[in-house]
């Protein structure tokens, strides 16, 4: 077998990513509206921006898919004229890498809800790291900073962890995931 992603994997990943790219683009104005309430509650919905990497990985389960999906989704948001412009790409790269590292740490063997949540949290930390340079967040009052981090991590667990996992579970019932997933040991057992 050849190493790396095949054309099918890449195409499926990018199409999933662009689908989420549209959602990411629509998420911008929503985030803006919510943030006018103040007190960082908009951070609760921030987790949506981590979802592409995790959903794509849970569907295809191959190395590199998470990173590609998140970067492609960010690129999609960028070429549709997303509000944050090129910043999106930097965040996409960071978040995708963080999620990819989590999946790699478990040797791409695990794809349960726990690992999805963990990848979501890792993406949240990556985004906070970038915000440190980009948004001067260290200069916020400390209680406000803690709310921001807490809300972002909770949102990440809920949306990009639990929701992403449940969506892929529901998607498995449609049978479409069998098209793109590598054969597992259970498939081989079924042959005997």
């Amino acid at each position: 077998m050849k190493k790396g992603l095949k054309l099918t994997d890449i195409l499926v990943t990018i199409i999933i990513a662009l689908l989420f790219g549209i959602i990411y683009k629509l998420w911008g104005p929503l985030y803006g509206v919510v943030s006018t309430f103040g007190l960082q509650i908009e951070q609760l919905i921030y987790g949506m921006w981590f979802i592409a990497a995790i959903v794509a990985y849970l569907i295809i389960r191959k190395p590199g898919v998470a990173l590609l999906a998140e970067v492609a989704a960010a690129q999609g948001e960028f070429i549709f004229g997303g509000e944050w412009g090129v910043v999106t790409l930097v965040f996409g790269l960071g978040q995708g890498l963080a999620a990819e590292l989590i999946f790699a740490a478990f040797r791409y063997k695990r794809s349960d809800m726990f690992i999805a949540c963990l990848a979501g949290v890792a993406s949240a930390f990556a985004s906070i790291g970038i915000d440190y340079y980009y948004g001067y967040v260290a200069d916020l009052a400390i209680w406000n900073l803690l709310i921001m981090f807490g809300a972002r991590v909770i949102g990440a667990i809920l949306i990009s962890g639990i929701f992403a996992y449940l969506i892929v579970q529901a998607l498995e019932k449609t049978g479409v995931t069998n098209l793109v997933r590598p054969a597992s040991s259970e498939d081989y057992k079924a042959l005997n």
């Binding site: 890449i10 689908l19 104005p29 004229g81 509000e83 412009g85 090129v86 916020l140 995931t177």
Partner: protein, 267 residues
């Protein structure tokens, strides 16, 4: 729904897309190193000139596109203005604590947000995705399988949007109730994402098989339908930014609007 999206082709459209992309990334890094609010304001004016006069799109459309800029300004600046650190208190009201330092730091973030947005919109309005990916393949050696996947996916977007519309009507006709809160959000997410994802995956799979059946391969020495190179417009683009940055800097040093030169918290 048919939308008129015609525009005049200006010099901004003729710049090599890869070069444009790289310049925007360099500007991004440069912007992160600017902490002087006067410089940022001048920089923003320079970008606005490019946005308003050289994208070749009609005024009305440019105005509509710039409405979200106000939101960006608010999202980037408000929490810093209200909750940022600082010494010189202006207003203290419950949790809200506006200081002079936090106010200017918030404004700085807001202006920076607008610059990034303008740059991004300028790129989006003046670059055709197809040219961008051809250029990425030719100038930056992006692998064809990624570039062509992307182009195929971009072509599917109108179909996806149409499908979402159909789905929306179908759910409406069947009287699906909307719930509130996170449960409602999950139900809504699920009812849209499952059909959309499954359809898209099937489509992507079929396209990939069709492409391979037509002998699509990853060879390096392939020929391209569009050949993209460099022109004098690339030089004009680079010079515009060099001159704009120098003038903004000069003006910021010699004719500042505010006396604050570094918005970061020094305490």
């Amino acid at each position: 729904m048919q939308m008129d999206f015609s525009y005049k082709v200006t010099w901004l459209h003729k710049i090599n897309p890869s070069l444009k992309f790289i310049i925007i990334i360099i500007l991004f890094i440069h912007l992160l190193m600017i902490h002087n609010i006067n410089f940022i304001i001048n920089y923003m004016l320079g970008m606005t000139i490019l946005y308003l006069f050289f994208t070749g799109h009609p005024w009305k459309r440019l105005l509509i596109i710039s409405i979200p800029f106000i939101l960006i300004f608010l999202t980037s600046s408000t929490s810093m203005i209200f909750f940022g650190k600082g010494e010189i208190t202006w207003i203290k009201w419950g949790l809200v604590h506006i200081t002079e330092e936090s106010f200017f730091r918030g404004l700085h973030l807001g202006f920076r947000g607008i610059i990034f947005a303008t740059l991004g919109i300028i790129f989006a309005l003046t670059t055709r995705p197809v040219y961008l990916f051809y250029s990425l393949m030719q100038q930056l050696k992006l692998k064809p399988k990624y570039a062509y996947s992307f182009m195929a996916a971009v072509r599917l977007i109108p179909i996806m949007i149409e499908e979402t519309q159909t789905l929306h009507y179908a759910l409406k006709v069947r009287g699906v109730q909307n719930h509130k809160g996170f449960v409602g959000f999950y139900k809504k997410l699920k009812s849209y994402s499952i059909p959309m994802l499954s359809q898209s995956i099937r489509k992507a799979y079929r396209i990939a098989i069709a492409m391979e059946a037509k002998r699509f391969s990853d060879t390096v020495n392939r020929t391209y339908y569009y050949q993209l190179g460099f022109s004098k417009f690339d030089m004009i683009f680079m010079f515009y930014f060099v001159i704009m940055i120098l003038v903004s800097y000069y003006a910021a040093i010699n004719h500042p609007y505010f006396s604050i030169l570094d918005v970061r918290d020094n305490g």
